[in-house]
């Protein structure tokens, strides 16, 4: 599907979200409350059929924390970027997508480990790489005494 067409279809599914045509893919910004509802609608809609979660990236935007989801349709081969943001840095929480994509389980554990975003409804939310004494290294305000590159 072409970018314009896809943007129109996505707009009809996710009405109260911001949809932009990015440089490469159509991008949609969803509020954290609507995330699971919108993404599962995008997955099961026959025209979008975004059934593959390609990548899940945790982002630190300075003031906000956020997640970027890259979704692909295995039937139509189009991509869609879904973004969501939370402004609470102390105790950030986003609904888990594990019920929609099983592959989100590992990705979300990684984001929880490195950025400290909690995923509500995740079946097994533990740290993945680091032990519990570490901070959250991918945050921009992370102070690292060991890494000489950061200085």
């Amino acid at each position: 599907m072409e970018k314009k067409q896809l943007a129109a279809v996505v707009a009809s599914i996710a009405q109260d979200s911001v949809i932009t045509e990015g440089l490469q893919f159509v991008e949609i910004t969803v509020s954290p409350e609507n995330l699971v509802k919108v993404v599962s609608a995008l997955k099961f809609n026959r025209e979008t059929a975004l059934d593959l979660l390609v990548s899940l990236t945790g982002m630190d935007y300075g003031t906000d924390l956020g997640i970027v989801y890259h979704l692909r349709s295995t039937t139509f081969n189009h991509m869609l970027v879904v973004k969501t943001r939370v402004s609470d840095r102390e105790n950030p929480g986003i609904d888990s997508l594990c019920s929609v994509y099983k592959s989100a389980e590992f990705h979300e554990r990684e984001v929880f480990d490195l950025l400290g975003i909690k995923f509500n409804g995740h079946p097994d939310l533990r740290r993945l790489f680091l032990d519990s004494t570490w901070g959250f290294p991918l945050r921009k305000d992370y102070k690292d005494d060991i890494n000489i590159l950061g200085k």
Partner: protein, 373 residues
């Protein structure tokens, strides 16, 4: 249960053993906590992070040409393809179109990388299942590819031959001759692989019907590469979103529907033949042209987000770069294929024997530095 082992192995209760982190069949430091009932696997929990180096964090303090050298160290058997992924992303952001010569050379080297990676897979997979001879045969042939790399790229495994805008250097004058020699040699010897392992009755008994994954599960878990294609999930990036010179060659995407360990192995065996076909089509037609575009000494990407996927020997590697206009990226994310392919190990091995767990994790062809990053 036999008299001799009565009371030694608990009969009706689950018990937990650690496989790894130092276990020969995990090919690195992967720790699997396996819970067993008798010798039937009930649950597998992978514990990773033993060689987590924080590559994504390091990237935030490095320039784009420097990042390329880090990607070698992720999936060290697909080093060239990882380099290419970063270069393609940077070139896409800058709007640079590399010359045809660069595209052809990159494609040939990518396919040589795929061949040597699958050769090592074959060698170690055979060894995991008790066929030590495979290891010697596999490494014997892989050496010849590494010699070609050494001559042209300077490195054998960690090549770092790509640079944003082209290549580090032009190819060695012997490159075409030696590659053709290797293809000729390997076409003659690849039947030894089938003679030794594929047709072996014990091997087939141990792999056929083991660790089955359906197509729906493969998509749901995001399994790409040979692992996904063995389950009938058509996920070859080279075919669906061609990059470099893949849109100019004819090749088949290898697909099987069985989704068991044997067919994950079979996909890789067929892919080696397919890779040789691709090289055959390109090696004589490398066009003349510059081996690199004129690049600024300091590369700054325009503000924005860029995503590029490539097909490594293990699946889809996605590079996601967020730039704020500086010479350092704001955020780099590597969607590595092994990280995603490891997650479904639990559902694949549930209910099988513990000896089959070695076969299943071997057939995923895991590279631990790629998981940990």
């Amino acid at each position: 249960m036999e008299e001799a082992v009565k009371g030694v192995v608990p009969e009706n209760e689950e018990y937990v053993i650690n496989m790894g982190p130092q276990h020969p069949s995990t090919h690195g430091v992967l720790r699997l906590v396996v819970s067993l009932k008798g010798e039937i696997v009930q649950n597998v929990q992978p514990h990773i992070g033993y060689i987590h180096r924080g590559i994504e964090k390091m990237c935030e303090n490095m320039t784009y040409p420097q990042i390329i050298h880090l990607t070698d160290r992720m999936d060290y058997l697909s080093a060239h393809i990882n380099n290419e992924a970063v270069c393609l992303t940077v070139e896409k952001a800058l709007g640079i179109e590399v010359s045809d010569r660069v595209k052809y050379i990159r494609t040939i080297l990518s396919e040589l990388t795929r061949i040597q990676s699958h050769q090592l897979f074959w060698a170690t997979f055979g060894m995991d299942l008790g066929g030590l001879t495979c290891f010697f045969y596999g490494l014997r042939d892989r050496e010849k590819v590494l010699d070609i790399f050494e001559e042209t790229c300077g490195g054998r495994m960690i090549v770092s031959y790509n640079a944003p805008g082209g290549l580090m250097n032009d190819i060695h004058p012997n490159f075409q001759k030696r590659t053709k020699e290797f293809i000729k040699y390997f076409r003659k010897t690849i039947h030894e692989y089938d003679d030794l392992l594929t047709g072996n009755v014990i091997f087939q008994e141990r792999t056929k019907g083991i660790g089955k994954v359906t197509r729906e599960d493969a998509i749901d878990w995001g399994m790409t590469g040979p692992v996904g294609r063995a389950s009938g999930f058509s996920c070859d990036i080279r075919k669906h979103n061609p990059y470099s010179a893949y849109d100019r060659v004819n090749f088949n995407e290898i697909l099987y529907n069985e989704g068991d360990t044997f067919h994950r192995y079979k996909v890789r065996m067929d892919e080696m033949l397919e890779s040789m076909n691709i090289i055959d089509q390109l090696i004589d037609n490398i066009p003349e042209g510059p081996w690199t575009e004129k690049m600024k000494p300091v590369i700054k990407l325009p503000e924005g987000e860029y995503f590029q996927s490539v097909e490594t020997a293990r699946g889809e590697l996605g590079v996601y770069i967020v730039s704020d206009g500086n010479k350092y990226p704001y955020r780099v994310k590597f969607r590595s294929p092994n990280f995603v392919n490891l997650a479904p190990l639990n559902i694949m091995s549930k209910g099988s024997k513990i000896a089959d767990l070695v076969a299943i994790s071997g057939s995923l062809d895991l590279i631990i530095p790629d998981i940990d990053r």
